[in-house]
Amino acid sequence: MEIFGIPIQAFLGQLLLGLVNGSFYAMLSLGLAVIFGLLGIVNFAHGALYMIGAYVAWIGADRFGMNYWVALFVAPLVVAAGGMVVERTLLKHLYKLDPLYGLLLTFGLALIAEGVFRDQFGVSGQQYAVPEALQGATNLGFMVLPNYRAWVVLVSLGVCLGTWFLIERTRLGSYLRAGTENPALVQAFGVNVPLMVMLTYGAGTGLAALAGVLAAPVIQITPLMGSNLIITVFAVVVIGGMGSILGSILTGLALGLVEGLTKVFYPEASNIVVFVIMAIVLVIRPAGLFGKEK
């Protein structure tokens, strides 16, 4: 059996790989959506934070013998702590200004971070071993799926759904959303809004770092790994609708699939297909697929 001249087995394999990549997109765009939706900051440093997350895992393993499972918690915490310092010292001065200022600041920070890591470690990159428990591969019949990639999909889906639930379905989430609508009023009810904002930015950056740790064993850890990805992830957020949590998750996964299929039918276009879709979506629905018109 064939679909458009491609054997169905190969087709399924490509869909599954698309899902793996899509889960990275989903997790990264989720962090961006949280930060934009609740803080109004266009966080261009997201790719750099993802890169730093991977490097924290690598440095931890290389210098201190930290294993993968510990790194999964330590790297996001380290990066979130750094993110919160940036929020308190730099970003908080920009909330009342045009979002462009936040974009420029975070873009500059990203360039600095990439430069520092390039200077320290070069661009050829470092290797991070797949943890022992997740080594090996499972033969699914239509393809051999490395266990680690399956793990990535599970973690990513879990984290995405957890974040969505936290923001859309819990009391804490409702404070957060209220705080962005009317900070003064929420403050008056005794909620510490600046603290909440700081923790939100920390959580968003932590998500980027977590994606970095998850990616570390499957790709070359280089200072450029974030900038290779960030533009695509931004396109995902724009397509999903800036600030829409659920939109960014679903769009991330869907675009992973679309990109995966493009790699089969017309590989040369695989790095632009996302932008073509973005252009079409912006023409038809300027607020994005899941965004609300303001």
Binding site: P7, R118, V123, S124, V130, L224, N228, P267
Partner: protein, 403 residues
């Protein structure tokens, strides 16, 4: 004013005589400017990049920083892998800085663009990091010297050896730009000429983030050999994913362009046994080893063949203009076509009418972790191809200047 001019002429004459230079010594602007435009920050920055610029400066320093009493200046710029940026920078330097020699770093697209600018300005252009054989074929120019390697030499070094060892059917994973398609084209011809077959190919974007999808397509082809017609970070990520997805169990990988930095980064465990062709290896002779040590002192890593070629090319050019006493573009290129190149990089090298610098190429096999005894001890040199056999032959050449 009149007197001042006389004084200047007198001083100039005295200086020329004192330096005992050839009587007609003339260097435009009284300074020799060498420009180096390469990828200083992107995926090719380790194989050439800032350390390549330093290698050029090492050559300048070895000549005392001057030729016949005229200071040598080195300008360095990052082209960010964009051909238009490279061409614009080259043009700016030729027009505004009086650039005498342009050295092109990695990325064929940028070098093809810079070669056009240099030809228009009638100044020598030495391409080092770029691999595309188009530089000395369809797009050959009297002002271009292709110094280190090209896609033809890489394919000729690796492909017949692999086919001979039993790798008959090939599938190509190709970087979708000038270099990748040139390499795939050159390699494909050799596969069929050596009695092998082409099962297919897939083109991936430069700096692709994920290779699993492309690799799966390669595996479906049931070919024996996966030819990697890409470079740098792309090659590294492709090899990594091939190991992860178990592709290496059913297919053998042949890296058509791999540098020692790639092997270092991936480690011997992932690369052992792979064949690759290169123009130079730090441990190939006592001279190369000595230079490698000097480089190591500075950067705490061994040089790639490109960095060695950056050094050698700079020395070759400076010695040539020293001998002729001028940095005039036409005279310099004429001289370059007559010199013999003998240094730590090449033995009896020479520059042919099509612009190729003809020198020996080496087929290496990556050592196993057990046989590697010292840091950066990565290769066994398994075969040496003589320059005349390693590069394009006259019959194959598509360069109008060499007919």
């Amino acid at each position: 004013m009149f007197k001042l001019k006389h004084l200047a002429i007198a001083c100039g004459t005295a200086a020329t005589l004192a330096a005992a230079a050839p009587a007609q010594a003339q260097y435009s602007g009284d300074v020799i400017r060498i420009g180096f435009i390469s990828d200083l920050s992107g995926l090719y920055a380790d194989i050439d990049g800032p350390a390549g610029a330093e290698a050029i400066k090492m050559a300048v320093a070895d000549l005392g920083g001057a030729v016949n009493g005229k200071k040598i200046e080195v300008l360095v710029a990052d082209h960010q892998n964009k051909a238009d940026v490279a061409a614009a920078k080259a043009r700016e330097w030729f027009d505004q800085q009086g650039l005498d020699l342009l050295i092109g770093g990695t990325n064929s697209g940028t070098s093809l663009a810079m070669a056009k600018v240099a030809a228009e300005k009638k100044k020598p252009f030495i391409a080092i990091g770029a691999g595309s054989s188009a530089l000395t074929n369809e797009q050959c120019s009297p002002y271009t010297v292709h110094y280190a390697y090209d896609t033809t030499a890489l394919a000729k070094g690796t492909v017949p050896a692999v086919v001979k060892a039993g790798g008959k059917s090939w599938y190509f994973l190709t970087a979708d730009y000038a270099f990748g398609t040139a390499l795939q084209g050159d390699a494909s011809k050799l596969v069929t000429a050596s009695g092998g077959t082409i099962a297919g190919s897939v083109r991936h974007p430069l700096a692709a983030s994920d290779f699993s999808s492309f690799l799966l397509q390669a595996q479906t082809s049931k070919a024996q050999i996966l030819g990697l017609a890409n470079a740098g970070g792309d090659t590294i990520n492709a090899i990594k994913a091939a190991n992860e997805f178990g592709i290496t169990k059913t297919m053998k990988l042949a890296g058509l362009l791999m540098f020692i930095n790639d092997v270092h980064s991936l480690g011997l465990k992932a690369t052992q046994g792979m064949y690759l062709t290169d123009s130079w290896y730090w441990n190939q002779s006592a001279e190369s080893k000595a230079w490698g040590r000097r480089f190591f002192e500075k950067f705490k890593r061994m040089p790639s063949s490109l960095q060695a070629a950056d050094y050698s090319a700079t020395l070759t050019y400076l010695n040539a203009i020293k001998a002729i006493g001028t940095d005039d573009g036409d005279k310099a290129i004429e001289k370059l076509h007559t010199v013999k190149i003998n240094d730590m990089y090449a033995k009896n090298g020479y520059i042919r009418a099509d612009g190729s610098m003809i020198h020996d190429m080496y087929l290496m096999q990556v050592k196993t972790p057990e046989t590697s005894t010292t840091p950066w001890d990565y290769y066994n040199v398994v075969a040496t191809s003589k320059g005349e056999d390693a590069f394009t032959t006259k019959a194959e050449s598509r360069c109008a200047l060499w007919k």
